[in-house]
């Protein structure tokens, strides 16, 4: 192993790593993917168990700092109102994501030209469109054609069922004359590519026991492995090394037994997402790259974008059967997505409607006094159980250089590798947008029949979209990678994850992350003969 040179090393087996590995596999190149987590066992997911609600708060919780699985590394996010959420495994964060799968809009690629803020991407929606389509087929995207919020696109599968809850919420939007549409969801609503269809278990965000949710361990990876890609699990990369010619020549990593290993490679592709990628590049500093690998621009780790989230909940007089169905996927509203300066902010947001709480979560609202103990308990519980529905609000986050991922001077992971430190401040544009969005969210819930609403804004654990920290661009002074994901500074180094985003849009990034990965892989395949000239 120590002397073998791989054609390609991919670091990270999540959303992007899987897509790029699958796409490149047809070249028959020797491809090795190093992943610090392991293959998941669906029988361990909480929905296999009677106490599924509480299991979802422990080993399948959002934060690596409290979850502390062996594959987790600590993140110092004390200096951020939004806390990091990620997951390390074959499948990466797609193991825990809600599978909400919208695309960016054409305007999201032209923010500077259209709205005078941020920057424009070095590519556009039309360029990415065929890769969105390709990704839809591989992941299995459920939806409804004809959404007027997008250029025409065809879902692969029928939409996720709305149920009584979805019907109730949709009527609220219709009463106001607002946009609403069934969510594009990476959920197999019918048998697809050998995967069984969704059976409406509820909490997709603690892993899908059915295998219907499109996590990459059940979509891209089986095909990539059959095509010859090697996945080495429990292998944590410490650094990417560079040879005397200025090209990346491989990685140093800790194997499953904790021994240091070296894998040499002709090409290195980084797919560690918006916190993991800058962390790795900064930890790969050398004499040639004293400020971190591929960081002559100084932009590695800068321009961190989350999506500032708010949660708005409504309580309804009737039971909604909200414990059934994919928890984060039913309806999306993009009524306020495109910029309207009269609102007092630029850019916009999405409403993504949520299903309701199970009985345990309903009961522990007692912490806020809503379901008291004692003689009043059952009446209060009955007024609330299965009567809540709501939304998360996903706000576009503008890139700001002072929002960063750096290396913590003291905190390290289990292998002694410096941990990432987050510095993030909510921008004024985001604050105004959240305020507007919360008010509109309450308005539509009341229009749907809610008798009581409440909001939490910003939502602290919502650091699950991690973007911008190795941004794309045509100017090597102001960006880390070019329009094809290649480092400006290292010709055989590519980045394919959310860190290359120029702007965040107001939608979940996974579909776009994967479309970009496929696009970069396509470029690599088309130019293999002279890729490093």
């Amino acid at each position: 192993m120590a002397d073998e040179v791989a054609d390609v090393v991919i670091i990270g087996a999540g959303a992007a790593g899987a897509a790029v590995a699958w796409s490149l596999a047809e070249t028959r190149m020797r491809i090795v993917c190093l992943e610090q987590g392991g293959w998941m066992d669906p029988s361990e997911y909480p929905t296999n168990h009677q106490n599924w609600e509480m299991l979802g708060l422990g080993p399948f919780g959002f934060s690596p700092n409290t979850r502390a699985r062996p594959a987790d590394y600590p993140v110092n996010d004390d200096d951020s109102p939004i806390k990091i959420s990620n997951f390390n495994a074959v499948g990466g964060s797609t193991i825990l994501y809600a599978a909400h799968f919208p695309r960016l809009h054409p305007s999201d690629f032209r923010v500077k030209a259209l709205d005078g803020v941020a920057d424009d991407w070095p590519l556009d929606y039309a360029t990415l469109e065929p890769f969105y389509d390709q990704n839809a087929e591989m992941m299995g995207v459920a939806g409804l054609s004809g959404d007027p919020a997008y250029p025409p696109k065809e879902p692969t599968l029928p939409p996720v069922p709305l149920g009584r809850l979805g019907d109730t919420l949709a009527r609220g939007f219709e009463r106001l004359g607002w946009h609403v549409w069934p969510s594009d969801s990476a959920i197999a609503t019918a048998e697809h590519a050998g995967r069984a269809p969704c059976i409406n278990l509820g909490p997709c965000v603690t892993g899908c026991a059915q295998g219907a949710k499109g996590s990459t361990d059940v979509t891209y990876w089986p095909a990539a492995v059959r095509a010859g890609v090697e996945v080495r699990t429990h292998c944590r990369v410490r650094e990417i090394t560079v040879g005397g010619d200025g090209l990346a020549d491989g990685v140093v990593y800790f194997d499953a037994e904790g021994n240091e290993q070296r894998q040499r490679a002709e090409m290195v592709i980084v797919a560690c997402n918006g916190v993991g990628t800058p962390r790795l590049l900064l930890n790969s500093a050398s004499a040639r790259f004293p400020d971190g690998l591929a960081n002559r621009s100084g932009r590695v780790g800068r321009n961190l974008m989350f999506h500032p989230y708010a949660l708005v909940t409504g309580w309804f007089p009737e039971r909604l059967e909200g414990y059934k169905g994919p928890t984060g996927c039913s309806l999306i509203s993009q009524e306020f997505y495109e910029t309207d300066p009269s609102r007092g902010f630029v850019r916009g947001y999405s409403f993504e409607m949520l299903r309701g709480d199970g009985p345990v979560r309903t009961a522990i609202q007692g912490a806020a006094g809503r379901v008291p103990w004692g003689s009043a308990h059952h009446d209060a519980f009955a007024e609330r159980f299965d009567r809540n529905a709501g939304m998360v609000i996903i706000c576009e986050d503008l890139p700001e250089e002072h929002n960063t991922v750096t290396l913590d001077p003291e905190l390290v992971d289990g292998h002694g590798i410096p941990a990432p430190r987050i510095h993030y401040r909510l921008g004024e544009n985001s604050r105004r947008m959240l305020e507007h969005a919360v008010a509109r969210g309450k308005e539509v819930l009341h229009a749907a029949g809610a008798i009581e609403t409440e909001a939490l804004s910003p939502l602290p654990p919502a650091g699950w979209h991690l973007m911008g920290t190795a941004r794309m661009g045509t100017d090597p002074e102001r960006s880390v990678v070019d329009a094809h994901g290649r480092s400006h500074d290292v010709k055989n180094l590519f980045i394919v994850d959310g860190s290359i985003f120029v702007t965040s849009g107001g939608v979940n990034p996974t579909n776009t992350i994967q479309a970009l990965a496929l696009y970069v892989a396509d470029h690599i395949k088309r130019n293999l003969g002279n890729l490093f000239d």
Binding site: T47, S107, A149, N200, K324, E338, G374
Partner: protein
């Protein structure tokens, strides 16, 4: 330490419902599991049980028990909420409770749930209002 008294405390926190549909938490044998989950409270739980024993909680009628427990809550803020919240996580995962709520008394998988597709006709009006995305000159 008498788990009979602990059961009386649990029954006070979540009593049998007036219509008899919902079981009382003191009748479900949750004491041992609750003790295990609250082990980090040290002697606080046992001290409370001892106080309840001394007060004759088990022999009190329900409303009197509730008054006594509210007194304990006032004198030891945090204790009753900790016990109550932990009890909720156990109570509402019990098959008897789930059945009483009209839910399937089983894990979600592999049975899953049926869900109606919903009224897709409501989106006709949205579609009819025409495109709403901005052109970017692509």
């Amino acid at each position: 330490m008498s788990d009979g008294v602990l059961d009386a405390i649990l029954e006070t926190l979540i009593p049998r419902s007036a219509d008899g549909r919902m079981p009382g938490a003191g009748t479900l044998g949750l004491g041992p599991e609750l003790r295990a989950k609250l082990s980090d409270l040290g002697t606080v739980l046992d001290d409370a049980i001892a106080a309840a024993t001394d007060a004759g909680l088990s022999a009190m009628p329900p409303l009197e028990r509730e008054v006594w427990l509210r007194g304990l809550e006032a004198s030891q803020p945090g204790f009753v909420p900790a016990v109550y919240l932990t009890l909720c996580t156990l109570y509402y995962a019990q098959p008897a409770v789930l059945s009483a709520l009209g839910l399937a008394a089983r894990p979600p998988f592999p049975g899953g749930y049926e869900l109606e597709p919903g009224d897709l006709g409501v989106f006709d009006a949205v579609r009819a209002r025409g495109p709403r995305y901005r052109s970017a000159g692509d």
